[in-house]
């Protein structure tokens, strides 16, 4: 049972049927799913949602699917951790980590959007799914496609690390590397989607795919006891998740699941790929593309198509945004790991580093309830921090040797970088 009524252009408002379409024929604006909120309001309740399995489909009335979903049965509903030790260190009592490092099955927030996209691909009758990606998106598509029994092609720029290829090929996906950069790959994929009629999750299924990102926001509200936080900090790459979390909060109010609350929504980018933050700080709408250069590869998108909507959502919410240098990102990854036992990828380090800056600037007040969005797992990006952790101490298998070492360590004579 679906509550979708149409697709609508976010720019010019033109209506389209519920089909695998993603751009407006008139203005090339992105298409967005339209729901019948009146009917949803009558159908949905806290009790109904709480009676369902702990996955992203517990909010299915607010997702663009028709049938009983069976893709991603364990995706979503990741922990919202009260980060007491980190909070004590940074002076915030109500600090929470929304932890998608443990999203099932591929350890990033992409399991949400891809679950919705693959469900929709099957509803539309596609037999082949695809994407252009070198990282989290590729592994999520390859994994969910495998379980759905769909053929899968993953496109990457040539020269990516072998681990990235393994991470998709292991699921049986065909991996194609392109002689060119990431933009070249994206351009080719648009052309392939047109010619071959495949479901590219973030191209022709994009209006459906992006809706999956709302579940990140739904869960934050439910896990806070159906309340909205005062501030949420979210990383920005292509610009999918932040506006969708804003939409999620609005929808929860519209359908009567949450009363009140007006969270400030803050954007976090890496300094080496911060076109949205530059525009935010300059107070302009025009986002000038940049050539990304940062260790935070998963958010290194220099020309974010939805950046404009990130600006809109941040400004409307009274939030702000900052960028973090690679050094700050690494320090924040280490801080989160040693205080809360969570190992984030550089995008998560970016988000935490930016949270600290916004606290220092007074954009976030210490008495607020603050949610830091951690969208990917550090075990996938070991190379980003490998040089920044303490090297192991090497000793012989003799107790005397350990005694001597321990004395040295206990004396505080630790090597550089020891925590």
């Amino acid at each position: 049972m679906s509550y979708i009524t149409a697709l609508k252009c976010r720019e010019c408002g033109q209506d389209y049927p519920v089909e695998p379409l993603h751009v407006c024929e008139t203005c090339f604006g992105p298409l967005e799913v339209v729901y019948d909120y009146g009917r949803i309001r009558g159908a949905i309740s806290h009790k109904l949602i709480e009676s369902r399995a702990r996955n992203l489909w517990r909010y299915r009335e607010l997702l663009p699917v028709d049938n009983e979903p069976d893709i991603g049965p364990c995706s979503g509903f990741t922990p919202l951790l009260h980060a007491k030790r980190l909070g004590a260190e940074v002076g915030v009592k109500k600090l929470y980590i929304k932890d998608d490092t443990v999203n099932h099955p591929t350890l990033s927030y992409k399991d949400r959007v891809v679950s919705v996209a693959i469900t929709k691909a099957r509803e539309f009758g596609f037999t082949t799914v695809s994407c252009a990606s070198t990282g989290n998106l590729a592994t999520a598509v390859a994994s969910h496609a495998a379980r759905a029994g769909l053929k899968c092609y993953i496109f990457m720029p040539e020269g990516v690390e072998s681990g990235k290829i393994v991470g998709s090929a292991i699921y049986g996906a065909k991996v194609i590397t392109i002689r060119g950069n990431y933009d070249d790959v994206n351009r080719l994929c648009s052309e392939i989607a047109d010619k071959y009629g495949w479901a590219f999750v973030n191209i022709n299924l994009r209006p459906y795919y992006t809706e999956g990102a709302k579940t990140f926001g739904f869960e934050i509200a439910e896990q806070l006891g159906w309340k909205l936080p005062d501030s949420v900090v979210i990383p920005t790459a292509g610009g999918t998740i932040l506006p969708k979390v804003a939409k999620a909060f609005k929808e929860l109010k519209d359908v009567g699941l949450v009363k009140g609350g007006a969270p400030k929504i803050h954007s976090a980018q890496a300094a080496g790929s911060a076109p949205v933050i530059h525009a935010l700080h300059k107070g302009v709408d025009l986002i000038s593309p940049v050539k990304p250069n940062t260790i935070a590869k998963s958010i290194a998108i220099g020309n974010p198509a939805d950046g404009y909507y990130v600006l809109g959502a941040v400004r409307e919410s009274g939030g702000w945004g900052e960028m973090a240098t690679d050094e700050e990102i690494v320090e924040a990854i280490k801080l989160l790991a040693r205080t809360e036992g969570i190992f984030a990828e550089p995008a998560g380090g970016t988000t935490l580093a930016v949270t600290l800056k916004l606290l220092a600037q007074g954009r976030i007040r210490p008495e607020e309830s603050v949610v830091v969005s951690i969208t990917g797992n550090g075990y996938k990006t070991l190379e980003a921090v490998a040089g920044a952790v303490e090297q192991p101490f090497v000793i012989e298998a003799r107790l005397d040797d350990f005694d001597a070492l321990f004395e040295r360590l206990a004396d505080g004579k630790r090597l550089a970088g020891a925590a």
Binding site: E11, T26, C27, V113
Partner: protein, 92 residues
Amino acid sequence: MAVRVRVPTPLRRFTAGNGEVTASGTSILEVINDLESRHPGMRERLLDDKGEIRRFVNIYLNGDDVRFLDQLKSAVKDGDDISIVPAIAGGR
């Protein structure tokens, strides 16, 4: 100055369904104006009412985004390859 222009699906109703057409001009703007004369309706799909490239349109000249070149004034020469591609996002 004949160039090859690849046309995305949403614009093919202006090109009788062709995914690739030829056009001429010495700059991107001239090529767009030429496209308009051959396939009326194209220009307003690509440029906004201020005459700038629409926010959700990317134009590539020999594989390079013209926003990194000289925008609409980017110089075009015989045999160049132009792609019109809707902006994509969605992360990596």
